[in-house]
Structure formats: C-alpha cells, structure tokens
C-alpha cells in the first residue's frame, strides 16, 4: 500500500498517464481508501481543466512561409560570410595531422587572397545577372482585374489533387486555387518564378512548375531561372529541375552557358554533372568537343576529371 506522501509525489505521473498498469492499480487502491488524496487529485484535475482553456495560436501557413523565407535569407548571408568560409575549412583541417594544420591555415589565407583577386577580376563575358528583381508581377485575370500584386505569401501544391494554392495581396487579399493547367495560375507562377523579389516564393513556384516542364512557357521560365536568378539556391534548384526535363537544344545551350560562365561553383558543377551524365547516358557525341575542351582546359580539377571520365566512356563506345 502506498503512503499519502508517495501518492502526492506521483500524482502528476498519474494525471499525465505515465504510470505502469501495476503502479496505477496500487494508486487506485490507495485512492479508494483515502478521501484526502481523492480531494487532492480532484483539485489537480480542476487546475488542469483551467489550464486547458489556454490555447496558443497554431502556426499559420503564412507564418511558416515568412519564417522559411527569413531563414533562407539568413543562410544566404551565412554562406557568403567568413563563418561559411571557416566552416568549409574545418572538415578539411580536422583530417590533417596537428602539425600540418597551422601550415595549411597560413597557406589557405594566402590562397584566399589570390582567390579573392581572381574572383574580382574583370570578366569578358559576364552572365547578364539582374541587380534588381523584375517589377511586381502584373496579371490581368477575372480574379484580379488589372490589379498589381504587391506581395505573395504562399505557393503550395496539393499532392493529392495536383492543384496549387497561391495566397497574395493585390488591392485586397486573394487566394487562387486551381490546377496548373489553368492558364491564369500558370501565368502567375511563371511571372513569379522569373521576377518576384522573394527567393523562397520563387523557389516554391519553381518546385510547382517543375511538374509542367513540358509546357513551352514553363520550360522557357525554368531555363531563364537557371541562367538569371540572383539567388544561388534557386539557380541550383533550377539545374536540378532542368535535369529532369526532356533534353533539347535549349536545355543543352543553357547548361553549356552555366558550365562556362556560372560564377557559383556549386551551380556550375551541377550543370557540368548534368551535361556529362547526359552525354554518357545517350552517347551524344555532338557534345564531345565541348567536354574535351573542359577536360583539358578547365581550371577546376573536379571539372577536368568529370569531363575526362565522360569523354573516356564515349571514346570506349567508338568502333
């Protein structure tokens, strides 16, 4: 038999149903015989009832989108700053012998100085990046008239129906919901992915549009994003989307441009991987001269190696 003190000490476990069946049976047996402990339990139940009145708001989809957008931008800043550089160095340095770590750190700083100069050198053919995003999307439709959209807070697909929901502010708050086959929805998303200022929303729009890459307007928009989006993450996502698209001269041209001129090495590697994998997969010898050029001339060792492997595999195909 439990004592009243033991009952008091386990009262919360009882209330929150954290006792085993045996412990609960012993507890119930004590309660049946002890009016004071029953009263204490009832008091606690009433307190729980009162506390149950409080209900903090659940996160709304708009709040989730705002949080993701703010985090996305903070991570962009993080990656471009000193912290990002140091973080990238840590795994490399930690694998070295301690005596070599100091020397590598000094060498890295020297190389970084040269690298900075190299990065900032004048380019003969810079990619036509937009310094500012395109003006707000204007859409003429039955839903919005000719209102100008000032803010888009959500673009989310419904995996069950294939529909998409877009929440935006024009002169009033509007939610558009419908299939991507709806020209108005598609036009809005194409405009958004190409020119809306918020990178998170552009990326969500890109995800949604990737399922309709067979449509000429969507295809053109996806390639445009890969070439021109100011955000590295969005461009990288666009390369991944383009990888899944049906191959064509336009895709090939866009990937070659990225392979030759893209400033971000991650996006550039992704484009080169896509090109090299395609060449090997379909035995496309039309791209052989380009790959040979990259395999012998590219300043990056990974690119030279990746392209050399692709060239070698194609050469093995020759009679």
């Amino acid at each position: 038999m439990m004592s009243c003190k033991e009952v008091e000490a386990t009262l919360l476990s009882y209330l929150y149903d954290e006792l085993s069946r045996e412990e609960r049976a012993v507890y119930d047996a004590h309660l049946a015989a002890c009016a004071d402990c029953r009263r204490a339990l009832e008091d606690s139940r009433r307190l729980h009832q009162v506390l149950g009145v409080r209900s903090a708001p659940e996160p709304t989809p708009e709040l989730i989108v705002r949080c993701r957008q703010a985090l996305d931008e903070a991570l962009d800043r993080e990656q471009l700053g000193w912290r990002g550089l140091i973080r990238n160095l840590v795994p490399v340095l930690s694998g070295l012998h301690p005596s070599a770590q100091g020397a590598v750190a000094v060498l890295t700083l020297v190389l970084f100085g040269f690298g900075l100069g190299w990065t900032l050198r004048p380019r003969s053919e810079p990619l036509p990046r937009e310094s500012k995003p395109a003006p707000p999307v204007a859409l003429a439709s039955a839903d919005l008239g000719n209102e100008r959209i000032s803010d888009i807070s959500q673009v989310s697909p419904d995996p069950k129906t294939g529909d998409v929901r877009i929440t935006l502010n024009a002169e009033r708050r509007v939610t558009l919901e419908g299939s991507l086959d709806n020209p108005r929805i598609q036009q809005l998303l194409v405009g958004t992915v190409k020119g809306y200022e918020n990178a998170g929303i552009r990326r969500d729009s890109l995800d949604v549009l990737s399922t309709r890459s067979g449509d000429p307007a969507v295809r053109e928009a996806l390639l445009y994003v890969m070439r021109h989006d100011p955000n590295v993450g969005v461009r990288l996502e666009a390369v991944s989307t383009v990888r899944g698209m049906e191959w064509g001269a336009d895709v090939e041209q866009a990937l070659l441009e990225a392979a030759e001129r893209e400033k971000n090495s991650g996006v550039r590697f992704a484009a080169i991987n896509t090109l090299a994998d395609h060449v090997v997969k379909v035995r496309d010898k039309g791209l052989l001269p380009k790959l040979e050029g990259l395999a012998s001339m590219d300043p990056d060792r990974y690119v030279r190696m990746k392209c050399a492997v692709a060239v070698h595999e194609l050469a093995g195909d020759s009679p």
Partner: protein, 213 residues
C-alpha cells in the same frame, strides 16, 4: 505533423512526402550527411521536416508570431552552424530539439533579466484564437467569451512568472504532451529531475490560479 514520444525517446513525426509514407530513417541520415557536407538543399529538406513543430513550440513559449519567427531563425541557424558536430549518437530530432530548447531557455532568461516578462496575450493572438474557434453554440455569449479571455490572460501571466526551465518543462509536458523521460533527455537531466521541475511549476501555478480552481 505530430509530436510523438516512443519509449521515452523523443520522436518528431516529420513532413510526409507526396507518397504519404514517412521519411525513412536511412533517408534522413543521408540528408544529414549531405547537409554536413554543405549541401544546402539537403539542409532545407531537414528544416522542412521539423520546422512546423519547432515553430509551434516557439509560439507557445513567446506568444507573438514575430518573436516566434526570431526564435525559429536563431534555432535553425544554430543547427546549421553546429550540424558538423552531430555524430549520430542520438536521434537527430532529439539533438535538434535540444538546440531549440536552449534557444527558448536563453530567450526566457533574457526576458527575465530585462524584467520584460509579459503575458503573451497580444491583441493579434487573441483575435487569431477567437477566429480559429468555431462559434457553433446556439447563442454566442459575450460575457462568457470575456471571462475566457480573462482566464487565458491570468494563465499566461502565471506561466510568465515561472522560472525559464520550469516554464519550458511545463510547456513540453502539459501542452506538447512529451513523456517526462523525453523531457529529461532534452534538458540533459534525468526523468526524476524533470518530474521535480514539473511538480514545482504545477505548485506555483496552483497558488497563482487558486481563485480559479
């Protein structure tokens, strides 16, 4: 998305992919490894698996959406910066929630230090609450609604008077439904310590809300 406990270990049910099946543990490990190698897309996927629950807890702790957004950002930036130190010794969700817990605790301590603890009953929060509760009673009773609002204000005030650790333990137990063992694990203490902390919090709330009970 739900917060679940499984055998005392914290488990956060993640975002369900289009197919409806939960992300496999092996897939999550692969995502973590890719994120550790600097793959931003993989990190984004991890964020999207857990961010709903993180934001839910942040909202409970601070009340206002703006402050919750700050906590959300601070927590995930810390996760991003220290992900390289995660060695798969525990579940990723447990590790992540520990980071979130520490961010929430720091926030509550800062508030306390600045003596700015206020009941998180902003006008916006109130409005949102009433808008989300369907008024399906035959007759809407304004007096009852007013009383409900006053009770919530009193509860928020009593919770704000708890010390940061008691407050967080109480939120995790009473409103998030975590097992005491999981809370102990998150706090880096034992189940017994978490239980004692919950006991103290409940006693303080009982005193503060005595006239309502």
């Amino acid at each position: 998305m739900h917060l679940r406990t499984d055998g005392g270990c914290l488990e956060l049910a993640g975002k369900f992919p289009a197919g409806g099946s939960r992300l496999e543990e092996a897939d999550e490990r692969e995502l973590i490894r890719r994120a550790q190698r600097g793959d931003r897309a993989a990190f984004d996927s991890l964020v999207r698996l857990y961010d709903h629950e993180v934001l839910r807890l942040a909202l409970k702790v601070v009340g206002s959406p703006e402050e919750a957004r700050d906590l959300y950002q601070e927590a995930f930036l810390k996760v991003y910066r220290s992900l390289g130190h995660f060695r798969f010794d525990s579940r990723f969700s447990t590790w992540l929630y520990r980071v979130v817990m520490n961010v929430c605790l720091d926030h509550l301590r800062r508030q306390r230090t600045r003596n700015e603890v206020q009941a998180p009953s902003s006008e916006e929060g109130e409005t949102e609450y009433f808008q989300t509760v369907p008024d399906d009673r035959p007759e809407f009773d304004p007096e009852r609604a007013l009383k409900g609002r006053e009770i919530r204000r009193r509860i928020d005030s009593a919770l704000a008077d708890l010390n940061p650790r008691e407050r967080l333990v109480f939120e995790l137990k009473h409103y998030q439904g975590l097992k005491l063992r999981a809370i102990g694990e998150l706090c880096g203490t034992s189940e017994e310590t978490a239980k004692n902390c919950l006991f103290r919090a409940t006693q303080k709330l009982r005193v503060a809300l005595a006239d309502l009970v």
